[in-house]
């Protein structure tokens, strides 16, 4: 076999291998991104549900607080737990809704630096911020899960006009931060612009 034929053969083989590899890679990539899309879809609908849940809690607060005013004005004794339940509601609701707010990119941030950097630099900076965010979320999730577990172990409760075990309340934070950690992971592996850039419909503050 002369060197020339040999070189030709080698080149053909190489290109074949590369092409083959590329299709396989493409396929795998497609599978992975398909899977990611699926994860996102599930993740998203769960998170949206939590937002509406908080919204309904706020509506419930408005109704029960108003109800107490009416009760007081007509001289009937008011419902004692309204204030307490409202307090728990805004806490649980705020952390339940937080992951979707993060997904939309609505948690206020100061992106002056990333806006002035060139595209590649901005991308790297965003990636870095996402990693920091992921670290923060995982740390909070880990240590707060410990707190919730300890509260569960020691049976601690909050004694107000309602007696409520402490652990479900404390479990809200690790759950919320775990969901937000997932969001940061999704951002890192599957870079996507903030959905918020598309359409802000909110009245804001």
């Amino acid at each position: 076999m002369n060197p020339r034929t040999w070189r030709h053969f080698a080149a053909t083989c190489m290109s074949h291998v590369i092409a083959c590899g590329r299709t396989r890679f493409c396929q795998e990539y497609r599978e992975v991104s398909e899977m990611l899309r699926h994860v996102r879809a599930v993740h998203d609908s769960v998170l949206k549900g939590f937002v509406l849940f908080f919204g309904v809690l706020v509506g419930f607060i408005a109704v029960t607080v108003s109800m107490n005013i009416v009760l007081r004005l007509i001289g009937v004794s008011t419902v004692e737990w309204v204030g307490e339940v409202a307090e728990y509601s805004i806490y649980v609701g705020a952390f339940a809704a937080a992951p979707w707010v993060l997904r939309l990119g609505l948690h206020v941030k100061i992106d002056i630096l990333s806006k002035t950097l060139p595209r590649a630099g901005a991308r790297a900076l965003d990636m870095f911020a996402d990693f920091v965010g992921l670290t923060v979320c995982l740390s909070i999730a880990y240590f707060s899960a410990g707190a919730a577990y300890n509260a569960f172990e020691s049976n601690s409760a909050i004694y107000k006009s309602l007696v409520i075990p402490e652990w479900p309340l404390l479990a809200v934070i690790p759950a919320s931060f775990l969901l937000m950690a997932i969001e940061f992971v999704l951002r890192i592996v599957d870079s996507k612009p903030d959905a918020a850039d598309a359409a802000p419909v909110s009245g804001g503050f």
Partner: protein
């Protein structure tokens, strides 16, 4: 060797209530050189929520704390019973109550050093007069500590944050609120309050707690030193009553009239407080409630 204890207060650093504890710390640091030193980190809410403090003491983050019973029911639910005390700490140390309380705390990883403020009741402050223990038709801003008591007397209750109390009283949204003798002037409530009702009900209570492991790790000499200092602090408890009397005189001067309920009504008032208080206590832990009642009340 010298031990350094990281200490916090549940009351605002520099406030009247915290100041006795802060003096106690100063004296400790002076006399305890080479033995015990206190690193005082400050008071709630600046350093964190008061209801989270004892958890941190239990977890060993802080070594010592000064708190009221209602703030650590999330660690020791029975701590709320202290508001029903009718005897002072000196008597508790005699009648075995101190050991009983110590045992309750030890089970939760806490050491009960001692107690102050056991002679300082809550009062009902009003902007319209009452002449009996029947409070129906009266709206009262309450905290959890005494909501059940006022509900039992027929009042309708209102939960609201402390900073809102001024406006609520001024606008007449509520007719009254419960509070101890001290603090009325701090929130300018003297401007919107016309009456204070005698008798008082329940009692304010302040406790010095320590992390149990830290306590057990200390030498006998160090423990003795802390005990001795605590006894000194407790002996000053009568000063609290004196101070309350001064504070009430100042209120009278500022135009807050004292309504003294007639004896029969006062009896209903006090007995309702006692009955409702212990009923609530028994809901939390009937066994401990019955046992501790023998120590902290008079038959």
């Amino acid at each position: 060797e010298e031990v350094t204890i990281r200490a916090v207060s549940g009351w605002t650093a520099g406030s009247i209530i915290a100041s006795r504890y802060e003096d106690f710390i100063d004296k400790l640091n002076e006399r305890g050189k080479g033995l015990v030193q206190i690193d005082y980190l400050g008071g709630a809410p600046a350093i964190g929520s008061p209801v989270q403090i004892v958890k941190k003491v239990k977890g060993g983050v802080y070594g010592m704390a000064y708190v009221t019973g209602g703030w650590y029911t999330n660690v020791l639910p029975e701590a709320d019973f202290f508001k029903l005390s009718e005897v002072d700490i000196a008597e508790l140390r005699q009648n075995g109550g101190y050991e009983y309380i110590q045992k309750l705390h030890a089970e939760k990883g806490l050491h009960y050093l001692g107690r102050t403020y056991d002679t300082s009741p809550y009062y009902l402050y009003l902007n319209k007069p009452v002449d009996s223990a029947d409070l129906s038709g009266i709206d009262i801003r309450v905290s959890t500590a005494y909501q059940a008591f006022f509900t039992e007397l027929g009042a309708s209750t209102h939960s609201a944050p402390v900073p809102e109390v001024y406006t609520l009283m001024e606008r007449g949204v509520v007719d009254g609120f419960g509070w101890v003798a001290e603090g009325i002037f701090d929130y300018s409530w003297d401007q919107v309050t016309k009456y204070r009702v005698e008798p008082g009900f329940f009692t304010g209570n302040g406790h010095v707690l320590m992390n149990l492991k830290l306590w057990e790790s200390m030498s006998e000499e160090q423990q003795a030193m802390l005990n001795e200092m605590m006894l000194e602090l407790e002996q000053g408890n009568y000063l609290v009553a004196e101070n309350d009397a001064k504070e009430i005189a100042r209120q009278t001067e500022a135009g807050i009239e004292t309504i003294v309920l007639p004896p029969d009504q006062a009896k209903i008032w006090s007995e309702t407080a006692r009955r409702v208080g212990w009923e609530e206590a028994r809901k939390i832990n009937a066994t401990v409630a019955d046992e501790i009642r023998g120590f902290i009340t008079r038959p």
